[in-house]
């Protein structure tokens, strides 16, 4: 495989061994706004559950560069004619992918997703901030321009509308099987010390082919012989979501984070982010933004712990929420019980989002199993190399494993109590559980 770029700077990494960067990429890494990512934890407060989950958005961003490069080269290996097999074109396209991979999380808020709702007014996401930074922070945009690439093109792979020429590149960065997911599954599993996100990375990276669609435009397809690698990736992702981001205790801390951020907003004590949102327009004071990180929020948490703020106490791991209802069912069962307990708490004077918190989520193996376009056609084509990469259907036509999992998504439903509300809720819970037990007995008796 020819080397399109000659990255000369190597960085040690537990997932890939080395991550190689070009001069310009290293200059981007050395900017204050990128270094800020060292101080944004990749998995927020997951470290309160898996103590070694201390890795940052910084190392993940470097990892995505490596994963995107590996997938790009594998696609090229099996589709040597993409981008007209022109070395300069290939080089340019790979560089665009690598810039987008490196910068895809540069707009992340402290504690990742929980803060977006309050700091970005619910109208924007971290991708909007990343896009803004790539286009408007001179220390970033000028370095990209220096390599003969328009920052808008890099930004459009993260958010917005890429031109046709670059649309295929978006699949490497923000598609269903992108390098972002490829890296975070391996990296988060490694740092959590769990095996749930592991899959056959090398085989997976080489699973894709480029085929013409109905308009003869190039699109991604899965080669039939690699279906097991793709299935393993999807199942790894499913188990990872259930065991890491949706872990019962971790989700409790996420709920408190959100509650605490809202509390700060109500008190007018939100830390200064440097981001201003006015009439749907973003403006960022980069001198401030470069210091807006997990530490900024923790400084405020410490102040509030001293003042006895109950949410701050939990975020300092001095207290916690207590799950009192926790089901994970592969059907709609227990939905009535979930609402019944909430009503009982409310009738007993307990307040939602103050004394008790609710969480419900339908978790599918993967959304691609559900998705179809306007004509009801499923996504992700499968091709057969034995028939010269002829289109032979979609992933759902060829994976009996995924079809069976599609029928039974998991429904997570949880109710948590604060420590101070436990005593008041005691009688309600005793009665609720008595009723459940009586119902179970009746069911068994009926059999």
């Amino acid at each position: 495989m020819q080397q399109l770029l000659n990255p000369t700077h190597r960085i040690r990494d537990p997932i890939y061994g080395y991550i190689w960067l070009t001069d310009t990429e290293l200059e981007l890494v050395d900017t204050p706004v990128f270094q800020r990512l060292r101080r944004i934890n990749q998995l927020a407060l997951t470290k309160y559950v898996y103590p070694t989950a201390e890795h940052s958005r910084f190392v993940h961003s470097l990892g995505v560069v490596q994963a995107a490069t590996n997938i790009f080269y594998e696609v090229l290996r099996f589709n040597p004619d993409i981008f007209n097999n022109d070395a300069q074109e290939l080089q340019k396209h790979l560089q665009i992918v690598r810039f987008a991979a490196l910068l895809h999380d540069i707009g992340h808020m402290p504690f990742s997703h929980a803060a977006e709702q309050v700091f970005l007014d619910g109208n924007f996401t971290h991708e909007d901030i990343s896009k803004y930074i790539i286009q408007n922070n001179p220390s970033i945009s000028n370095k990209i321009k220096k390599d003969g690439i328009k920052p808008q093109i890099v930004a459009s792979l993260l958010k917005g509308k890429p031109l046709k020429e670059y649309s295929l590149l978006k699949k490497f960065i923000s598609g269903e099987f992108d390098a972002d997911r490829a890296d975070f599954l391996l990296r988060d599993s490694y740092f959590c010390g769990v095996k749930y996100g592991e899959y056959d990375y090398i085989r997976y990276a080489g699973s894709f082919r480029i085929i013409p669609d109905k308009d003869r435009q190039a699109v991604f397809a899965i080669e039939k012989g690699n279906l097991h690698a793709v299935e393993a990736f999807l199942l790894a992702r499913y188990h990872y979501y259930l065991q890491v981001p949706f872990h019962r205790t971790r989700r409790g801390f996420d709920i408190v984070l959100e509650r605490y951020f809202n509390d700060l907003r109500e008190r007018g004590k939100l830390p200064e982010s440097g981001i201003k949102i006015d009439n749907s327009n973003i403006d960022i004071d980069f001198d401030r933004f470069q210091f807006f990180d997990d530490y900024t929020v923790f400084e405020q948490i410490k102040k509030d712990v001293v003042k006895g703020n109950p949410w701050a106490l939990i975020l300092m791991r001095q207290d916690r929420l207590h799950p009192v209802f926790d089901t994970e069912r592969n059907d709609k069962g227990n939905e009535n019980d979930f609402y019944d307990l909430q009503e009982r708490f409310a009738k007993h004077g307990l307040k939602e989002n103050q004394d008790f918190f609710c969480f419900s989520k339908k978790v599918e193996v993967h959304k691609i199993l559900e998705n179809s376009d306007e004509m009801g056609e499923g996504s992700y084509a499968v091709v057969d190399k034995a028939e010269d990469n002829k289109l032979i259907g979609t992933i759902l036509d060829h994976s009996s494993l995924l079809i069976s999992t599609k029928k039974n998504p998991a429904y997570i439903r949880r109710i948590y109590l604060t420590s101070s509300a436990r005593e008041k809720a005691k009688q309600v819970l005793v009665q609720f559980r008595k009723n459940l037990n009586a119902r179970e007995k009746r069911k068994k008796g009926g059999k």
Binding site: Q152, K164, E165, D215, D373, E374
Partner: protein
Amino acid sequence: MSVEKSNQIFKHVLAWMRDKNIETSKIAIQKTLFFLKECGIPMRFEFDAYTYGPFSKQIMDAAKELEYAGEITVSHSDYKLTSSFSDTLPEKKKTNLDKKLNKFFSLINGDFSFDNMELFGTVLYCIRALQENGMEPDSNDVIQEFQAWKGTRYSDKNIENAYEKLYPVFSEV
């Protein structure tokens, strides 16, 4: 913009179409919501270029939620409103949204057919993509970009006609 508020906009578009006797096809919903988003109506739906032009997977998810709640049924290529369906968008917002919806109706001459939706949706996508890349696209730029996506399935004249209708509305990024 919360998911709930975005879903309210989706439901209002369904209600508006029902009231105008427009078939609530998936493609008409997708392209109408794309038009509204590009008009600056805040919503959580993100659109990518897809098989038939700009397409949001989140709209399909929102439809599934409505189906789960019993408000619509989802078939191969369209949605049907059930008797439980209710348009929950606040009246004030309805007025503003209806102005934009009526504008869209007049731009496309009330033609919500599959091909016209694909044509207008893709032309609008191309105008916006070129603008985001720093251009002030003329009809030739848009025809060229359109054909890069769709080949020659639509004539230059049809693309130009859609461009001339849409560009005055979206001449600024």
